[in-house]
Symmetry: C2
Amino acid sequence: MQHPNLQEFVLDQPLHTQAFFSLVETTAKLVDVSEKYWQSKGLNGARIRVLVELMKEGGSLLPSILAKRIGVTKANISLLLIPLEQDGFIRRESHPVDGRKSVISVTSEGQQLLFTHLPANREGIAEKMKSLDEQELHQLLFLLHKLRRD
Amino acid sequence: MQHPNLQEFVLDQPLHTQAFFSLVETTAKLVDVSEKYWQSKGLNGARIRVLVELMKEGGSLLPSILAKRIGVTKANISLLLIPLEQDGFIRRESHPVDGRKSVISVTSEGQQLLFTHLPANREGIAEKMKSLDEQELHQLLFLLHKLRRD
DNA sequence: GCTAAGTAGTTAAGCGCTTAACCATAATTT
DNA sequence: AAATTATGGTTAAGCGCTTAACTACTTAGC
């Protein structure tokens, strides 16, 4: 072996990187649960997140804002909205004063979709998180908050 | 609005789901830092993880084991190994007794690559985690551990 | 020993996202 | 007012992963 210390270096991870990799691995597993839920209903997690974000706002938002809130590119939002509109879950209207913008709204079908499936999805997530008690959840939120501001 | 409670339901998240979404969001940002590092060096995070996993094991592993360790499909490992071999970072040998298997080993070029770049990558990660002190990192690891076994 | 079932790895098709280039409209500069 | 720059949105190409179908080999059962 050309670098005799390399294996040692790879194995002896400082606490920082251990926590990082544990975070990545654990989160991946949890996300999988939620994502599989939507798949099992023939739905698409990303598209659902669009509807949820619209609901949070009261029903309507611009695509660009939506993209920022969800954390995807404007190109991707564009692609997400197409099937949502085709399926009748959102409605697209042109902005009254600014011709570049368009206003996206959840339709009642979209709301119905959330109403039908969101509670079960959240229940599935809660199930996976139930190994932490209330105090531990607060702790976790606190630690994540610290990590995020930075 | 057809479901007057829906916005309230969407907004009033129980602690469980709050923690879940915070986990997802925070982790995504952290991963991005590491991933961007590799990209900035013209390298590929997933391929690097293959090399790291090989090093952890002492240098050699079967593709199938590698896939499990990294958490990807065997199809994907197959695709990851092709460019790694072309670039001379791994070597592929046929298994001495079992003709189906092949043995993957890191070359000294592969080791050199890790030796050159891994420390800086880990340093970048540590930088992003530095808002937590040692005790908090232990706390985080503990909480993640509880979440994972379940 | 031969057939059937299982396992390791590859390949093809497809999905979800990204970046980059583009079009249309709006705002800013002069 | 005209020209420039900026912004919102769409489209095209490409990357990284997945599932599913396939090939090659091995193991187990009769």
